[in-house]
Symmetry: C2
Subunit: 332 residues, 2 copies
Amino acid sequence: MTTLKELAKLLNISVSTVSKALNDSHEISATTKRRVNELAEKLNYKPNRIAQQLKSNTTKTIGVILPTVTNPFFAEVLHGIETNATKNKYDIIVCLSDESLTKEQRSLELLSNGSVDGFIIAVARESQVLEQTAHINTVINNKIPVLMFDRVVNEITCDKVVVDDFQSVFEATEYLIKTEQRKHILLVSNIEELSVGKLRIKGYQKSIEDANLKSNVLKLSKVDDVEKHIYNYLQDNPETDAIVSIDHITGIIAINMAKKTGKNIPKDISVIGFGYEHTQLLSSPKISIVHQKAYEIGEMSVKLLIDNLKSEDHKVKTIVVPSELKLGESTK
Amino acid sequence: MTTLKELAKLLNISVSTVSKALNDSHEISATTKRRVNELAEKLNYKPNRIAQQLKSNTTKTIGVILPTVTNPFFAEVLHGIETNATKNKYDIIVCLSDESLTKEQRSLELLSNGSVDGFIIAVARESQVLEQTAHINTVINNKIPVLMFDRVVNEITCDKVVVDDFQSVFEATEYLIKTEQRKHILLVSNIEELSVGKLRIKGYQKSIEDANLKSNVLKLSKVDDVEKHIYNYLQDNPETDAIVSIDHITGIIAINMAKKTGKNIPKDISVIGFGYEHTQLLSSPKISIVHQKAYEIGEMSVKLLIDNLKSEDHKVKTIVVPSELKLGESTK
DNA sequence: TTGTAAGCGTTATCAA
DNA sequence: TTGATAACGCTTACAA
C-alpha cells in the first residue's frame, strides 16, 4: 500500500505538504496540489484507515451485538443498521451472542479496547432470563455509548429503541374482537420467556379482559412437537375462532394445523401472526401479520447512537417504533 | 482509557518495561511483572487495539460482503463465519451489497485501505448478471486475499467455497424418479438467473434426460403472483406427480398450492425444496429439503481465508460442501 | 533486568 | 507556501 512517505519521496517534498495537499488545505499552492493528486491517483493511494483512527482516537465503527441473525427480525434490523451506518460513513463490526450470556460478555469486553466508538445491542436470551447485565453497565461506565434495542434492560440507563409490543398485540386482539366479533381467541407463542414476549402476552390479556373473554395462552418455547401441540389444542377446543401468534413461526403452523382440523380460514378461524418481509408468502391463505418495522428499528438505532457520539450534550431517549397491522387473507 | 504511559508513570518505570511485563517477557523480573499486572488489573488496562494494528500492520479483521442477510442461507453462512472468526480471534466487518454492483464496489473500495486483512464475499446478483467483476480483481491485485463463496465468478482465481448445486438437485430429482417412480416432475425456481440457479436447473435436467422424461421448468423470479402461477400450472397439468424447488420459498408455496388443487401430499405429489434450519417447520406436511450446509460453508470460508492469511505458500483451492437430502413428510 | 529510541502512517502545530 | 517535528499507543531492537 502506498503511503504519504512514498509520495513525498517521489515528489521531493515533505510528508506534511503531501498530507495537506491531499486534504485540500488552503495553505498549499494549486500546482503542488495538482502534482500530488495526480501521483496519488496514479499509485492508487488511500490514506491508511488505522493510522487515521489512531491519530484521531475515533474509529468510525459501531459494534453490533445480536443474539442471532437467523431470526428474520434481527436479520432485518441488521439490514437497517448496515444501510444507515454506511450512509453515515460508519463501519459495523458484528458479533453474535448466540443467546449466550458468556459470549455477549466476551464480545463487549473484546471490543472495548478502542475497536469501536459505540455499541448497538439486543441482549441475549440468557442474559435477560438470568438478569445478568452488569457487563453492559461496565461499558457505559467506560464512557462508550451504548444503544439497546428490542430486548432492553429497564434497569440500565441508555438510549433505547423498542417496539410497541404491548400495544400492537393489544390492537391485533382488539381487531379480532371488535371488527370480527371473535370470542374464543387463542394466543400461541414460542418466546414467552423474553421481555418482549411477556409484553405481548400482556397486550393480549388486557384486550381479552376488556371484552370479558377468556384468556387462552399456549406456551410453546419448550415444546418439542409444536405442530401436534397446536393441533391437539384445536381438536380439544373446537370453539376456537381466532388465533394470535406473537412470533414469526407459530402463526404459520397454526394456519396449517387449523386447516388440518378441517377449519376454513378465515371463515371459521382468523389468524394474526408476527412477521416480516417474506412471512406472508409462506402460508396459504397469506397470513395477516403484525409487521414489526425491523428495518426502521435498525435505522433509528444508528441515528440515535451517532447523535450520541457526535453531540456533546446528548440526552438519553427511548424511541418506540410502532408496528403496523398488515392484513393478509387469514382474517375476514 | 488507560495507556501504557499512564501505568509507567504511576509505577515510575519505563513504558517498554510495562509493555514487556504485560506480555510476560522473560526479560522482566517477577516482582515488576507482579506490580505491573496488579496495577493494570486495577485500572482495567486494555491494550489499544488500533495502536497494535498500526504497529503490526495487521488488523485481525475480515471484511464480509454479502448480497443480503434476510435470505436465511446468507444469514446462516454469516453465523458460521462469525463463530469461526471469533474462535480464531478475528473480528468481522459486515457490508451488505443489497444485490447491487455499485454498493459492492464501494464496500470493497472503502475497506481496501488497511481496514481488513482479507475478504469473504458472495457476489451481488447484479454483478453476476452484468458480469462485472473487475473490482474484485483489483482487490486481489492489491495483495489482499479474497475468498468467494456460493455465488462465485469462474474467471477469477481465488479460494472458493461452493455448494454442490448440480449434484444435489440431480440426486433429488433422481430420488423422485428412481425411488418414488415419479414421471411428471416440475421444477420451480425464483433464482433462475443466478449462477447457482442455473447449475441446479442443469442438475434437474440431466436427471430428467437420463430417465427420458419431460423437463418442465417454471421460472418465477420475475413473476408477481407466484402462488397463482403455480396454482394455474398445477390445474393445467394435473398429471404432475412431483415438484422440485431450488430455493427456500417456492417449495413451500408449491405444497400449499398443490393442496389447494385437492392433491394429497405426498400421495399424489411429492415435493422437495431447498432449505435451512427452520424451513421444515413452515409447511404441512413438513417439506423434504435439500439442506445446504450454510453454517459449514461459513466455517470453511473462514478457515480457508485464515490459512491464506497466515501461510506463505498458500495455494488456491476450491472446496465443495456437499448438501444433504433431508426427507420430511412431503415425500413418500 | 531496565531504559532509550525508533517506527507504524497519519495529522497538526509551529517555524522557516 | 512549505517543512520540521511531535504526537496518537504500542512493540522491539539495542543500549545501559
